[in-house]
Structures are given as structure tokens and as C-alpha cells.
Symmetry: C2
Subunit: 520 residues, 2 copies
């Protein structure tokens, strides 16, 4: 990952000749942008190489390989980097740049693991990156990766698992640090990199890592989360909170085995119908969750959050048009408002088969995977209990293991519920002075790239990041600074990153890492 | 498939020495039973070989191979056999034995194709037969196939696709004919074999085959259907009717693509919930279909059928215990009564993923495969229209192709419905004199094997056979004479045949093919 420091070198030379500092000759943002413009094909080539590393959190062999790769890349651009290890779980890729005289420390969180993949659902293998001339939905076609000097169209998309979630920030940070090093730009803050390897598996060991290596992070003043998508409008955003996440799985039972739908149809319990009746009881047709107490424990929204919500772009109309939707859950409330209440969705249902594999059977089980999103105030265990109570109220005997024949003969309806736990929601006060400084820097960077008042300030995002753990362990605020395009298909097949969003990330990080220290 | 005719040969020898006919020395049933008892390992070995032939109706290469194999086996046991061909569809394996002086002709229907398989759901590959010491559910263990002289336990199970549905009758017919030939036993009727190669694909060309080769079947007096399972009690049965079958598939739509459940959860339509609400509206929790008009077109049940229903064994209690069921749809009506009304079941649901593949998405579609079983009087097209009308009444705009963005922006709820057609139900009069003859012969054979009054006479079975086509084209009655164990997992993974049921089939066919001609 060594770029030609063409323009940067000239800048240094000019600077030296003129007897002025680099900062006088070109702002750090300008230096980085010029560097990027002159190395676009190489940056894409490096991203491609990076995307080839499989990164499922549960595959420790893969995780080890990609963690080492990132550590080596950081070292190459001047970061003191090492892997922090707890046995049997993904390591933390740790790094630091200590700046003489710096009076504050930024903690930078990225996760290098990715969501599970079912390759059958992908157009291309998920770890063989493909470049497209536009998104597939917009009729983009595959094209070769550019070679040095080829023009790069910012509307291109690079398709691979984790392209948006969450390899893009690492792919943007490396060239920023590379160009800094080439030109001798110094960040205005100490930097601590803490790259998580199991965010998609719930960051179960992040808290332990932070406590064990507390000496490495105790000086962090504020955490920057480089994760999540940009605002749906395409405009950059900073966000002060995330929802928590909990997965539950419900299995209902018919006969002990699949039965022929002819010989037993109209007689044996119809598992698909049983599950359907149960799921239908959980949410009405307008999207209101019908589980008793579902909305009772959410913290009320404060005045500042309400003001921020009011100030956000009204993007629902455009988004609905893009997604082919006539209606949305909870309308007329808009998307940002809907993210402030806990959500219950069906992530998946499996029972028997459909399409060419459909057979004339009545399946012996039907399974629904439920995705719960929590807001501040919701305790995961309490919310799970509400779901369990509801299912009991619907007449089911609830178990946590498949029932044996004795249990089956005791209860007419049995539901197995597994899962739970998950992560809590988090919200950083919008009045926090550190937070205000970061917002100011981001606002400035956003203006340079996207124009005046481009930055969207959101009180909360819908997704989940291990924000709660970081703020809890360190007692320091956290702000989310996402860069991926909103239509990046994260967590889904055909995940992708729009190249323009990679360029935006590079611009943004250049600003954040060199924001004036006077802002604090 | 050449057996050692040990005992049979001795019988001939004894018969000749004594100057009496074979029939005097040993009844045909005794001849066949003795032959079977002396060749059990060889019969199982041949069945194994036969089960290795893949037989999905849609794979014409496989179908061609197995059809040729069956034809060759028939020729080897003295049947005049050939393949009847319509281009591009599975051939009919046709065969005949014309008996000088015979005054009636039995048509024998079997199908040699099998249900679709999803090998992922099978314990063993579906076309690699495995012998178990008992059913898997009963703790059976795999064991090697026996070699000559090894004792064979009738409780063993042979696992493979089509073991029960519907290769078993062919595997039983061949040794019966083989032993007849060895000993010189002559059937008491002309025999016409008409083996269908696409029953599991709806027997779409069976009518055409029968019309084109009408000269080969015009003398058939009664059709015997060798298909379906024995009565759940394990007792043999004859059945006078079948239900029709129709498959429908319903797809509901959310956004144009999968969306992240965090970023869009509580806002984008929840396809799993939408489908659940729709399915829940179709059937109440007691199993009564709620679609308007669902029960209106079923022919009323006649007095003879009612009497037969009353005479059937009450097996519900035992069956429920075996299947781990506390309740059944439509209770307190029993299974045989429930088969006299049209059924609607969920054969499968797919949307997103569950288990380890569950991801934090809101799937963009949810699909349900519906299995409809029709009774006499139900027109498939009419019943499909009832389902369509119901879905429209639930607020959906119904289409037959995936909606484009324009259509999506017109209708808040869209359902794609595909499928339909299928087969009609059939019922042969229980008063038909030919039918009474066959019942008498079957009753006698059943008594020999299972004891007095063993035969169950059922007015209708739940499954579907192309009975309607045969009775319609030939104008002759049809009776179903099943042999497979009721728990053979037909149409499902781990299909199997209990060896005792193969022995029963051999006994039964020996009786049917030699029933006294005076009965007609």
C-alpha cells in the first residue's frame, strides 16, 4: 500500500523552497485530496485486496489473517500497532499515534469483521470484489478495476461483503495517514485506534478488552465511531445515539415429523398457520407492536433531540419512491422519529420449502427469526420477557429446548424461544462540549465536500454499534461519523460501497484528524 | 434379478412326480411366499439396486435410465414390455401378460418417478439406499445389507427416495412374476402394466398417453392403483377415492431490496408480518378454512361412504400419540372424515433466513407455498379463484408477475399468486361389482397375512393419484391398493419402507393376480 507521493512531494519541495510550513502551502485537507486524486486506481486496488480477506467473526483463522494484515498496513503508514489478544476470540487491532504537545486524544473505533454470508444469495462470491459502473439496481455493469492513470468514476460501486460495513473506514484511513506521512502533516490530536473483530457477533469481548488494556485507552477524550451509513439523502451525518439489538428465534411444532399433505392435510396441525397466527398477533397492520408494555420503558425524547429531529431533512418521500413503498410503518411519523422507539421485525421465516423445492408435506416445524431494536431505557432481558409473556398469552407453552414426546403430549401449543441478550442502546448528550467540537469539524469538512450546511445532525441512528460498551467502560462520550452510502446493502447480499463515499471518507478523516485544537 | 428357484423347483418336481398340477401341490400364494422366504436377501439387494436410480420427473436423463431398467426387468420375468413415448416427457413403461382363456383384464398402475429432493434435509443421500434396524425415530441404526442366507428382520427399514412412493410395488411385482414363471403359475386375468413417469409432476401427459395407445388399454376392466400407504394401523386397506391436489404460491412485497433491520426497522413494511397476517386470515385456530365458499362445492357424502367411515378403525388416538399431537384440525372429527373435505395447508414459507444464517435485515419478500387438497365436486380453477378473492378481500392487489416500481407505487399491498391447475378428486362407487370382486380378493389375501377382518375399506384416501384421468379416459373404475407403511415419510426427507410391508405387497399381489375368475 505504498502510493506515489507525486503531488505531495512537490508540495514539500515547494514548501521547503519557499521557507514556509506545509500548512501554509496547502491545508492538510488539500494535501490529502490531491494525494487521493493522483492515486485513485491504487487506492481502489488496495481496497480490493483488503476486501478479499474473509472476515466472519466466528472463523478465527480468517479473523487472524485479516487482523494481521491491518496491523501491518497501519505500521506501514507510521502507526504503532499491535494485536491485543484474549484467547479464543478475535483480537483487537490496536494502534496509536502520539503527537508531541497534543492536548487531547481521539479514540477511533472501526470493526473489521463482517456479517454472516449465504453465498447462494449473492450475485458474485462475497469475498471476490467486483467493480460495477453503477449499482446493480440502477443497471450498473461489471467492469475491470482501473490501472494507474485510468480515470475513476465516483459513481462506480465496489461489491463485496463488508465493502460498506465496515472495511471502508480502514480503506480510507490508510491513505490519509499515508499522505500525512509523505508530506509531514501531523495530526492535531493523539490518536488511539481500537479495531473490533467481532462487532457483527455482538462485540461480546470488547468490554473485557477495554478493561484489560485500560492503560491504552484511559486518555481518550472522545470516541469516534467510524461505522454505519450516511444519511439517506447522500449527505454526511453525525449521530449521537444507536439502538440496541437483540435476536430471538421462535419455533412452533406440529407432528413429530413432516407429514404428507394429502394423507394428513385437514387433520394434522398446520405449522405455517400456527406460526402465522402468532406473528400476526405481535404487530398490527400499521406497524404498531401489540406486545403488552412494548413502548413503556423507552426514555422520553428530550427537547434537544426533538429540535434535531425537526431539523433533519425530510427524506421519507424520496426514500419511499426509491424503495417502491406506498406506506411505511407508523406513518405519518417519519423515519428519524421511528428510530426513537423499539422495533420488532421478522428477520426470516423457514418452514418446509417454496418454489421448485416445495413438496406436498405439512412441515413439522415453522421457525421465525425476530429482530428486536432497543432504544435508550429498554433492558434487553425485560424486552425478551415481554415477548415470552405475549407468546404465553397466545396459548403457547414456552420452552428453550425442542420438546420431547412427553412434553408434546402435555401441551397443545409449544413454542421454543432462543436468543436474547444483545446490546443496549446508547445516546450521547448533544450538549457535550467535546461533541460540539467534533460536530464543528465535521460540519466544516462536510461543507468542503458537499456544500454549505450539508451535515445532517441526527439524535439517533437505527442501527446498532457497541457504543454502550465504550461509553460505559471509559465514561467518555461517543459520536458516530458514518461514511458508507445509505444503499450499501449492508448485512444483505450484494453489499457495496459507492466510490464517491470512499472519497468523502478520505476528506472527512483528513479534517477530523487535523481539526484545530482550540475547538476544545 | 434372477433368483434361485430352490423351493419352487422342488414344488414343480414334486408336482410332476405326483401327477398333480402345481395348484394342487401348493397354492400360488404359498408358492410365492416360499419363494420370497428363500430369497429375502436377494430381493432386498435388487430393491437396493433399483432405489439407486434417481427418478425426479423433471430430469429426463434419469427418467430414461430408470424406465429402461424397469422395462428390462419386466421382460426378464416374462412380461411383454416396451416404452411408450411422447417427445420430451417421461415415457410410460408398458407391459402385458395375455393369458389364454382369461375373461378379464386388470390394469395395473404404478408410478416410477419420485418427489423432488432437497439433499440437505436428508440424513443420507436420497439415492444411496441405507438399511436400518428400525425406523430412525425408533432408534434404528444403519446396518449392512444382508447377503444370501442371512436372516432378514421384517422390522428393518430401507431408506431412499421413493422407497415407499412408489418403487415398492415394482420391487414386489417382479419377484411375484419371477416365482410364477419359475413354477409355471399362470395369472387368472390378463395383465396390463401402465407405469407412469411423472405422477409427482402431476401426470400431465397420462391422459394423452392413454388416448394415443388406447388399443393397449381398451380391454382393461378395472384399474388397480399400486400406490399410497397402508392404513395407519399397519393394516392393509383398499380405497375408493383420492383427493385432488393443487399447489399455489403467494409472494408479498416490502421494499425493492432487503433493508437493514436497524436503520429501517419500525419504518419499512415487515414482509414476514404481512405474510403472517394474510396466512392467519385463511384458517382459524381450530383448522377451519375461513375463505368464503371453501366448503360449498364438495359433493355430499353418500350413505355407503358414511357406513364405510363408521366401519373404519378409530386410529386417531394412537396416531396422535405416535405423532406427539394433543389436538388435530377439525376435532372431534376423525382423520377419515377430515379427508372428505377440501384442505388448505402451508407447505412452506421462505423469507430471509433463520438460525446461524439469520441476518439483521428486513427481507424484501416473503413467500408461502400453499397445498390445496380437493374433494369430489371441487373444480381446481374455482378453488384457486376463491383463494385469489380472499387475498383481494384482505386488501392486496393480486398479480401473477413480480411488480415493477410503477405498480409498487400504485398499491400499498401486492401479492403475486402463481400455480394452480393440478388434479381433480375421484371416487369409485363402492357398489361396483368389479370393485366388490377386488375387495373380496384383497380381503382374502389380507386375512392370510394379517388375520381375520384385517382389511380396512376406506371410501377415500387423503393423497392424490391420477385416478381421475384413468377413470375418465377409460370409463372403468379404479381401486387403490396401497402397500407402503403409513410412516414411510413419503414426499419428505428420509423416506423409507418397512421390510414387512414389502413382504405384504408380495403376498397381496400373488393373491390379486390369481383371484378366482368366478368372482367376476
Amino acid at each position: 500500500m505504498i502510493y506515489q507521493p507525486r503531488i505531495a512531494f512537490i508540495s514539500i519541495l515547494l514548501g521547503l523552497l519557499a521557507g514556509v510550513s506545509i500548512a501554509d502551502a496547502q491545508s492538510p485537507q488539500q494535501v490529502v485530496r490531491t494525494f487521493r486524486e493522483n492515486n485513485e486506481a491504487a487506492i481502489l486496488g488496495d481496497f480490493r485486496e483488503f476486501l478479499r480477506y474473509p472476515n466472519r467473526a466466528r472463523d478465527l483463522g480468517d479473523i487472524e489473517a485479516i487482523a494481521s494484515y491491518i496491523r501491518d498496513e497501519l505500521i506501514e503508514v507510521g502507526v504503532h500497532s499491535e494485536l491485543l489478544r484474549i484467547d479464543g476470540v478475535p483480537p483487537i487491532v490496536y494502534g496509536e499515534i502520539l503527537v508531541p504537545g497534543a492536548t487531547r486524544t481521539l479514540g477511533i473505533y472501526v470493526h473489521y469483521d463482517g456479517q454472516a454470508v449465504d453465498p447462494n444469495n449473492w450475485t458474485h462470491p462475497p469475498f471476490e470484489p467486483m467493480l460495477y459502473t453503477a449499482s446493480m439496481e440502477a443497471g450498473g455493469e461489471p467492469r475491470p478495476f482501473p490501472t494507474e492513470g485510468d480515470p475513476v468514476d465516483p459513481e462506480w460501486r465496489i461489491y463485496a461483503r463488508s465493502a460498506g460495513d465496515d472495511k471502508a473506514p480502514i480503506a480510507a484511513l490508510i491513505p490519509v495517514l499515508e499522505s500525512f506521512r509523505n508530506v509531514g502533516v501531523t495530526p492535531t490530536s493523539n490518536l488511539v485506534f481500537f479495531f473490533d473483530g467481532e462487532e457483527e457477533a455482538g462485540s461480546k469481548n470488547l468490554g473485557d478488552y477495554m478493561r484489560r488494556w485500560n492503560d491504552k485507552i484511559e486518555d481518550v477524550d472522545i470516541w469516534l465511531f467510524f461505522d454505519g451509513p450516511a444519511h439517506v439523502s447522500g449527505r454526511p451525518q453525525v449521530t449521537f445515539g444507536v439502538r440496541g439489538s437483540m435476536g430471538l428465534e421462535v419455533t412452533v411444532y406440529g407432528a413429530t415429523r413432516n407429514l404428507h399433505s394429502g394423507h394428513y392435510g385437514n387433520w394434522t396441525p398446520d405449522t405455517g398457520n400456527i406460526l402465522a397466527r402468532l406473528l400476526a398477533s405481535m404487530k398490527d397492520e400499521k406497524g404498531r407492536v401489540l406486545i403488552d408494555g412494548w413502548y413503556d420503558t423507552a426514555d422520553p425524547i428530550g427537547d434537544e433531540e426533538l429540535a434535531a429531529l425537526r431539523g433533519m431533512p425530510d427524506w421519507d418521500g424520496q426514500l419511499k419512491e426509491e424503495l417502491g413503498l406506498v406506506w411505511t410503518e407508523g406513518q405519518p411519523e417519519k423515519l428519524p422519529e421511528r428510530l426513537m422507539v423499539p422495533a420488532l421485525n421478522v428477520r426470516g421465516i423457514t418452514s418446509g420449502n417454496t418454489g421448485s423445492l416445495a413438496r406436498n408435506v405439512i412441515p413439522n416445524t415453522a421457525v421465525a427469526s425476530l429482530g428486536v431494536r432497543l432504544v435508550k431505557g429498554n433492558e434487553p432481558e425485560h424486552m425478551k420477557n415481554l415477548v415470552v409473556s405475549h407468546i404465553e398469552k397466545m396459548g403457547f407453552h414456552v420452552v428453550s429446548e425442542d420438546p420431547d414426546i412427553t412434553l408434546r403430549m402435555q401441551f397443545p401449543r409449544i413454542a421454543k424461544i432462543t436468543g436474547g441478550g444483545g446490546s443496549v442502546a446508547s445516546r450521547t448528550s448533544m450538549a457535550d462540549p467535546f461533541a460540539q467540537s467534533v460536530v464543528a469539524a465535521a460540519r466544516e469538512a462536510a461543507e468542503q465536500t458537499f456544500g454549505e450546511d450539508a451535515l445532517v445532525v441526527a439524535p439517533g441512528m437505527g442501527g446498532t454499534l457497541p457504543l454502550g460498551v465504550l461509553t460505559e467502560v471509559t465514561g467518555k462520550p461517543a459520536i458516530i461519523v458514518p461514511v458508507a452510502n445509505h444503499d450499501n446493502n449492508q448485512h444483505a447480499p450484494d453489499e457495496n460501497l459507492r466510490i464517491a463515499n470512499l472519497w468523502y471518507a478520505i476528506d472527512l478523516y483528513a479534517s477530523l484528524l487535523t481539526m484545530p485544537s482550540t475547538l476544545f
